[in-house]
């Protein structure tokens, strides 16, 4: 279990990283936290000609709020997200999701951008991005483009990124005042989710919810925003009948697969239970 021979290049700027990606013509990989890439190299599931280390690119880890969004640089590490007051106050769903990822050591290295580009269908960061309709800012040699999270994820471990492009930053809508809950069933604490559910919403003064968004993890080939269930909850007070209807709609959106962690049937069994638990907890938050 050792990586195959490869070249190593430390990029000091985004331009340098993009130039190197172009030079290796799709046979190089960017190295961010390395918490997914290095095991893949060691197992030789990936054998790139080169890795391009982006950890030295200044400012690529910036977290800043303004113009109704919170913009998070691709290189922001989980532990930085955990420590950030801006994230806690304005993207509470992300703050709730990060502790579910791996363990302290993994969170000290792993990055938001790396997690999104890795596109694990059970990944918590993809779940948050899809649920909140984050905008992904991508740079290539030809220039910049932006994609909604739903368009970025194309399947298990598959994204819309070209091999010569880099994810630069992710913009989440400013969710100041929102409540958020993440519930997850995993075989062991810190392990990848068997099923995860994200629920977030903005409480109105009259006791109802202005909007609610529900995301579903590990029940399809990529994280899903449960659109119909979410839209159906806007303006409700999350009464038991509302919650039950939403859980049923979420189940209709799920297309779970069987894998080493669980059967498809077990995932179908878990999903409505976790949706009800998440919404129940969200409802309790405002009392």
């Amino acid at each position: 279990m050792k990586p195959a021979p490869l070249e190593y290049l430390a990029a000091a700027t985004a331009e340098e990283a993009l130039a190197a990606l172009a030079r290796f013509d799709g046979n190089a990989r960017l190295l961010a936290g390395g918490q997914s890439l290095v095991p893949l190299l060691s197992m030789r599931l990936l054998r790139p000609t080169a890795v391009i280390d982006i950890n030295g690119i200044r400012g690529l880890d910036r977290i800043a709020a303004g113009d109704g969004v919170v913009r998070i640089g691709a290189l922001a590490r989980y532990s930085a997200l955990q420590a950030s007051a801006v994230i806690r106050e304005r993207v509470p769903l992300l703050a709730k999701a990060v502790p579910f990822v791996g363990d302290r050591q993994i969170r000290n290295r792993g990055t938001l951008g790396g997690a999104l580009c890795h596109a694990d269908p059970a990944g918590e960061m993809a779940l948050c991005a899809v649920t909140l309709v984050a905008r992904l800012r991508i740079v290539g040699r030809a220039g910049r483009r932006e994609l909604d999270a739903e368009a970025f994820f194309q399947g298990p471990y598959t994204t819309a990124l070209e091999p010569t492009e880099m994810l630069e930053a992710v913009e989440f809508p400013d969710g100041a005042g929102a409540e958020a809950v993440v519930v997850e069933h995993a075989r062991r604490h810190g392990d990848f989710a068997v099923v995860s559910v994200a629920a977030t919403g903005l409480p109105a003064p009259d006791g109802s919810w202005r909007w609610i968004r529900i995301g579903l993890g590990a029940v399809a080939d990529r994280a899903r925003y449960a659109r119909r269930a979410s839209e159906g909850l806007a303006g409700t007070r999350l009464q038991p009948a509302d919650v039950e209807a939403a859980a049923a709609r979420c189940l209709e959106d799920a297309e779970p697969a069987a894998d080493v962690r669980a059967s498809a049937e077990y995932r179908r069994h878990l999903l409505p239970i976790l949706v009800e638990r998440a919404l129940g907890e969200l409802a309790r938050r405002r009392r």
Binding site: M1, K2, P3, A4, P5, L6, E7, Y8, L9, A10, A20, L31, G34, Q35, V38, P39, L41, S42, M43, A50, V51, D53, N55, S79, G102, D103, R104, Q105, I106, N108, R109, H189, G190
Partner: protein, 163 residues
């Protein structure tokens, strides 16, 4: 840029420079290039924590870093803990609480604990276990490890208050 690179870094306060293959994992660099065998290799895929070292003071898994990534950084391994002939407080706490059996996991736990103390964190019980979730032990059942680290963290916090 090449398949071999120069890695210059500090380990336990001492400067080292070596030319290595780019694919060299940090844990293998420490063990084979620097002959520091205290950092153990368990799973080689980031799960067991036996290879935990401090990178600029933060615990990381050294099987999940390429050695060239440590260029210009500062690493602490278990060899950096004990003074001359004297155990580090965390090592003494492990000894007092019988917190090791085969000892394979121990260096990783020690460094994870030192990072907590350095950050002024004095956790116990479930919250401490949560912080230590990246370190596995196949022998002890964890009880004594958690006790040793609780003791050490209390002592470290006390020392800060007194001093």
């Amino acid at each position: 840029m090449s398949a071999r690179v120069t890695v210059a870094l500090r380990v336990n306060g001492r400067a080292y420079e070596r030319v290595v293959e780019s694919r060299r994992l940090l844990v293998d660099f420490l063990r084979h290039e620097l002959q520091l065998h205290g950092t153990h290799v368990g799973c080689e895929q980031g799960v067991c924590g036996a290879c935990t070292v401090l990178l600029d003071g933060e615990p990381v898994k050294s099987c999940l870093m390429l050695a060239p990534q440590a260029h210009g950084h500062s690493i602490t391994t278990v060899e950096g803990l004990a003074g001359r002939g004297e155990l580090h407080a965390v090592q003494q706490a492990f000894r007092d609480a019988h917190a090791l059996q085969c000892g394979y996991c121990t260096p990783g736990f020690l460094l994870a604990a030192v990072a907590l103390a350095d950050h002024g964190v004095a956790l116990e019980g479930a919250a401490l276990r949560e912080e230590l979730a990246g370190n596995l032990c196949r022998c002890t059942g964890y009880q004594n490890i958690v006790e040793a680290i609780e003791r050490y963290l209390r002592q470290a916090a006390g020392g800060r208050r007194d001093g």
